[in-house]
Symmetry: none
């Protein structure tokens, strides 16, 4: 039976167990991929006596995955806002976002790998858990782009579409980072930033555009 049915309060031990299981699930998914991350494997990595314990603490496999996604996003929620603050130019803000994101991916490879695997393996992880976060991040990027256009920093383009493309470039970077763990990120990030700078920043003469 689900503990505390209908209640949102969790015992201390209960909360600890859930965290432990979520952590083991992240580790397992990152290591084996979503398809092979069975309860048995997760329980083994969590040092649990039985996969039944996972079912005891989580209503569903989907419920567990939902918590996993929440944990991953919770750990990285500060990323985009962090670099968006301060009285810097829009381009500096965007550059910070790009570099910050890549650095974050680099330093949270296990989490990111798990997230990517979930997105790839779960039928509709995107729609149910990840989509909203993506939209929020996309909004933040677009806001930056709008600010840059208003300030004359950026050339004219459709901000929503370009925000989307920038997000996709970062997704591509993450994929590449996870696939080729030995990639030289400094060089890679340098080219990425350069491409975006040339792609978006308006030439000097355009200031009054």
């Amino acid at each position: 039976m689900q503990p505390n049915p209908g209640s949102s309060e969790l015992t201390f031990t209960e909360a600890a167990r859930r965290k432990q299981i979520v952590a083991a699930a992240i580790e397992t998914i990152a290591e084996l991929g979503y398809a092979k991350a069975s309860f048995v494997q997760i329980a083994k990595r969590a040092g649990l006596s039985s996969p039944g314990l996972i079912s005891y603490h989580f209503a569903n496999k989907d419920d567990l995955i939902e918590q996993v996604v929440a944990e991953i996003y919770g750990a990285g929620g500060a990323v985009i806002t962090m670099h968006n603050e301060g009285a810097v130019s829009a381009w500096q803000g965007l550059r910070g976002y790009l570099e910050g994101s890549v650095a974050y991916y680099d330093s949270h490879r296990t989490y990111m790998r798990a997230l990517v695997h979930i997105l790839q393996g779960h039928p509709d992880a995107l729609g149910r858990w990840v989509g909203a976060n993506n939209v929020a991040e996309l909004d933040a990027v677009e806001e930056l782009l709008v600010r840059g256009q208003r300030a004359g920093e950026f050339r004219e383009f459709d901000t929503r579409t370009v925000a989307l493309i920038i997000r996709q470039m970062l997704s591509g970077t993450l994929q590449h980072l996870l696939t080729r763990p030995d990639v030289d990120l400094t060089d890679y990030t340098h080219e990425l930033v350069a491409m975006c700078e040339h792609a978006l920043v308006a030439p000097e003469g355009k200031t009054n555009d």
Copy 2:
């Protein structure tokens, strides 16, 4: 008995059945994702009496998937070469590649969706069936970039890394296209091409465009 072991000749009916099953597999994978595309589901969509019939015509599930990938790549093999020919400028070549790719993705959504699902779901589809094609395509892009740099069309950058990023942008486009089937591709492609143009074409080189 496995039909025609070690031979490349296939009966007419045999070839037809294989095509039919491959088609049903593509359809099923595109619809349900790789994980849930079991022989039972594929057989159901192919109108077969039993999943055993698939095992009769294909040695393995991997064998079937290999044929699926072959069919998908076979149908689109002309894409990259098509746009690389002609005495056009490097940028025109690249623009053609970008627009051609997007148009191809658009017109082969089911195939592309299946391919993406296989890449995401199969443990090492990338290494066994897709990797080589990707490298070839990457090489073609890089060659274009090198040509453009030599001709002074393109600014200086690391051609390999930028080729990679361009491929990733297209991957992102495909993902987006499959996720949001109602996207306005004309606008999207326009922005994508514009971004790449600004990102790569050298300022003085724009005159002879």
Copy 3:
């Protein structure tokens, strides 16, 4: 449909096909064992286009195996009688039977291996096809033993039981020969014959050997 239902006459081609299939079955069973000797494997070795052809020529798998056993016994039926003739002593007759059997096993390894595999793998091959042959052979051995006892060559013993034990020794020899193909049969047979001689021949009877 079974060809020539209710008739015992076989077409020439029909008979040839059956022989061919039986031969392939023997080869297959000897090589793979009974359990893995499927129609597919047999058809492959016989160069047949389909396992269905076997079902066409034989009513059953059991029917095929029955013919296989018949072929094997038919090829070796002369063995025991061959050495039982001539006005030799009983012991010489027995010795000839022992040595002849071992030699026969040695020169018909594939047939013998197939027969052993069938006996081991088929639920009741013994009762249905092999038992009668064994009894016949056993009778022949016993007859020899009785003759020897009457002539005073052999000591007193229960002839049926000892005949059985002698048969079992030969079975053991066959097993050993098939398991360890590199065994030195000369030495082995020498010891086997010596054991039987000491075991059966009456002390005073040795003089006229």
Copy 4:
């Protein structure tokens, strides 16, 4: 989850279930033979709800069979050593071994039948589980023969080969016992022992028997 991976400690119930399944497996194999002893049949005889439960308690079918063989050998491990002790003559030791073995076969017919079926049906049961035991038993017999020769009890012969033949005689006895359950073992054993005595014991050595 596979219970207690890598540990030798078993829960009480777990151990009981394993024993129960092993027992049912022995029963099933003895009754149906190895080929037809599927998990479904074993589960049916064990009163289990599903064949999956067997996979839950044993890693493999091979794992189960290994435990079955272990159980069978474990139950009869004392046989050969039992009769080899005491300051008796080599011949008395051998006679004890023969009689003891036959008596053991007689009193453990189901176990022996299962063992024989496994040896006949499993591709390499001999090499993996049984071979070592056979060699050990063969060594023990040979040791006895060597002792007897040194003491002048036995005539000259190649001890290895004769040990092998003696083992084969016992195998033959077992086969016969399982095939004809109504055999008069007293008579049979008497003849077997007599044959071996005449075959091996040196004429002059009989005096101090």
